[in-house]
Symmetry: C3
Subunit: 388 residues, 3 copies
């Protein structure tokens, strides 16, 4: 009890601080300070200021809407004179983070369920029925083989298939693109972001943007970096590609909106940065279903009630709006961790200098004698222990 008490008194009322050898030496002194300075510079300058080591970070939660505008006219032998507006070329009518603009099509009109010759292909060309095993189908065939071998044209015979007839012939893609005028369509992107941890929200339509400005502006990296309306052609250019070339077989464009915000500063400094990237790399040796396309059909029924459909293979550009970014805000934890581990590095300075002082310097023995006090653990060791 008493012992405990005295221990407690000792614990509370005693302060222990290491004894220091203070070496008056220009060399070592300066070196020591230099190293410390360097570490300090690193901790303050790099960790805290540059890398914002004092900030808590959160990543963005976002919601996007995109709306296309524009109308064009085409004139083809198959479809005749035709107007294309939003309801025609945006499929599906609304997306979530992406919008698809049809730029090229292969239309197969008036298909009905029936039997017709398959397209000539590696497996489908035949001499006799024996070449066409009934009921077979492979991933590239447009129907199920009936087992008959029928003339595809004067010269050629192919296996007959049960399919939507006539079968689509997508062997040659219209070039230039059917809706090449899509180049001038515009895209309005609305983006609303949220940083849950800081409960900070913002839109890409900035407060200082006026309605009149929005009605007229077109995004331009240099002159209008915050206008959320994009001209498709220019958008593809920014990514370093040609719209007309891309329009033929379609593709995918990434509209990247980066929200890197330092919430220790005013909210008005938290701005969206747009960048554009083509997401379907078109390298020739990976040309399995190049570009981007998909098939859909419009279904009709005639008087007799039999179902017709117009199948459309739609090539086009899908614009994926990719929102990302991090927000940082001062927080005590990361600050302390940065500082703490920074302080720890100060130990390095002493260690370094000690090594030099005790191993490299001319007077090392002298210094060692000053710094160290040798204590023997062995009985015989005690007598020859000298006091420094």
């Amino acid at each position: 009890m008493a012992g405990c008490c005295s221990w407690l008194r000792g614990f509370l009322f005693e302060y222990d601080t290491p004894r220091i050898v203070l070496i008056r030496s220009r060399k070592v002194g300066l070196m020591n300070r230099a190293v410390q300075l360097f570490i300090l510079a690193y901790v303050i300058g790099w960790v805290l200021v540059w890398e914002k080591g004092y900030q808590e970070v959160d990543s963005v939660v976002s919601s996007v809407t995109a709306k296309a505008k524009g109308v064009t006219v085409t004139n083809s032998s198959q479809l005749g004179f035709r107007i294309w507006d939003v309801a025609d070329y945006v499929i599906p009518a609304q997306g979530e983070n992406s919008i698809f603009i049809m730029t090229n099509i292969i239309v197969t009109m008036n298909q009905t369920q029936g039997f017709c010759p398959e397209l000539p292909g590696r497996t489908s060309v035949c001499k006799s029925d024996s070449d066409c095993p009934a009921g077979t189908t492979d991933t590239h065939s447009s129907g199920v083989a009936t087992g008959r071998c029928v003339p595809y044209n004067r010269t050629l015979k192919t296996c007959e298939v049960a399919a939507w007839c006539p079968v689509e012939d997508d062997s040659l893609v219209p070039s230039p693109a059917f809706l090449k005028a899509a180049e001038n369509f515009t895209l309005l992107v609305k983006n609303n972001i949220w940083y849950p941890k800081f409960n900070f929200t913002k839109r890409n339509i900035l407060p200082n943007i006026t309605t009149t400005y929005l009605k007229s502006c077109i995004y331009d990296a240099a002159t209008d970096p915050f206008c959320p309306i994009f001209r498709l052609g220019r958008l593809v250019e920014y990514a370093g590609h040609s719209f007309q070339d891309m329009a033929v077989e379609g593709g995918i464009m990434g509209i990247q909106i980066r929200w890197d915000c330092n919430l220790d500063r005013a909210a008005s400094f938290c701005l969206p940065r747009y960048s554009f990237r083509r997401l379907d790399t078109r390298d020739k040796n990976h040309n399995v279903s190049p570009g981007y396309n998909f098939r859909f059909a419009k279904y009709y029924t005639d008087l007799t009630g039999t179902e017709h459909r117009t199948q459309i293979k739609a090539y086009g550009i899908r614009f994926d709006i990719i929102v990302f970014g991090k927000a940082g805000k001062f927080d005590i934890i990361p600050t302390m961790i940065s500082i703490g581990s920074g302080l720890a590095l100060f130990g390095v300075a002493t260690v370094l200098c000690d090594i030099i002082v005790l191993y490299c310097m001319k007077k090392r023995y002298y210094f060692r004698e000053k710094k160290y006090k040798y204590v023997e653990d062995y009985e015989q060791g005690i007598h020859n222990e000298m006091d420094q």
Copy 2:
């Protein structure tokens, strides 16, 4: 060799610990302990307990499905008496993380490709053909100008356009909303989350929820916080808006599901928290395409094979289900980093006290003398070096 050996012996069998000056002083002693206590409290209490500095974190990977239910009836001059069910008002039929409920429409029936007067507008009103340069089109026009100036109504003449005729007139939006009854539709949200790092999965339909409960329940922040079925009207209310007002021009609602889980506790404590936010801020000065709407069309062909379409401008509410959250679980690395940098901070205590002892206290010279041992690097320095 021998030297190396002796060095090794020294390295292994010697233990060096700093020599300490132990100052018996109430003031400093207490202060020192106080600072240490504070640091300890910070490390233990704040870093470890509060901020869970001992946890590895992972962010959520999720999959969502949403399904609407409800039917309503409308009676309008244009469409007559009409029933609306899920297949009518959910467009597209299925989404990924969002579902669109149509609440208001502008229908333009029986459009055909042709020529008709453009809507009166800033650019389209004309006196003579000279006002209508042929082939021109701007982002807001519904077709391509033919170059003729034709009567729009008794009083007004506008440029003729090649377009889907008659052109849509969306100048006045039906108010109150056409499908105002959508307020009572319900939304079932199914959410399945995954924390890859911990391979932990969970659904928002909790294990303790019974089928009978699910058949009847409606989400209510107070009484049914875990029921995944939402009544649209109430959902908008929770976000602090009026459904009827929102239904007219449409909008976007965020259904935010937060999964913040401490996986050191039982899985049953890992629960979804629902919150609701309107994502399209309706401030009057940013009224470019306010709310949310898009156009689509249903296509028909008549006997003669000419194509008709019914164009629909659909206003409605898009419900984005936004899933986010972090899971934490004990891990050695962050623990060590927190503790390590915490320990480093202890050095601060000594530094602080030293400053006070050596610079502020009355007996500072005395203490300094005790703490420091001055060693001269200069020959002449040796003699006047005193031993402490």
Copy 3:
């Protein structure tokens, strides 16, 4: 001024290093080194090497496209002999990170707006008109009650509703699934990832994959782990479920692509890892709208201009492509933090040994006397202070 100068000289040209007691003791020496070794091992081995504590991490930004291939034939009393191709069974025609393959359907043909008896149900069965309050509707009814009670069949009477008539009867789901052949359809998944922080991009179609290989390959965990083409049946198997069973009521499959990359190594080591998981857990007691399905309709108009529709309740499998992963690359900050907090832990070694030396060892008093120098803060304390 002069004082300041001398202080500065002192600050710059003096180097202070702690005085050390060097105890020659096998026990303590070895223990001390052991502890240090352990800490070193932890810092180097665990933090740096194993947990890559020297790396900055970034999480993936990705874009996905999926394309299905395959055709099948069905023969039913209702629809007769019918071919199904991509345009028929993929709804909607294109998605973003997911693709839906219809595997089972309930078709209700030739619906028109009108009045017809509701399906027999808890609320709809009636004896007389009084059982059918007009205008009522609940979430499960297919129309709005007219207030009349009409015969549903010979035996049964139900409330009449204004609805698309005849109302859909989805009481029994076709089993086996209508499009069971979907098992052999294939899915081509194209994924393009990006690590913004390191500006590193890659596709899941690896550079060393040839076109010929892509045309023929099918993903197989063992033999073709990098082929991005999946056979639906096998894909479901990998997740440990039966495709045929899943096809009946539909469901959601997660195709998880993990991109964990160590960018300190060559880019060719950064590879996608595919894994498959069923996202809609089918536990019997949560059977509210089990599986996955949705309704949509194809609209027609006949000569008289009255609108018909074919309503389809589509059951099927939605494939969600979930891309996630982290990339790490050497960065100075995390390295320093790891090392710094590691160094701090070294202090622990000394503390530990001190405790043993000063409290546990036989010669503790002797060692204490060597290590500590007692300094009294009290006048009377000075005289009895002894020199060590």
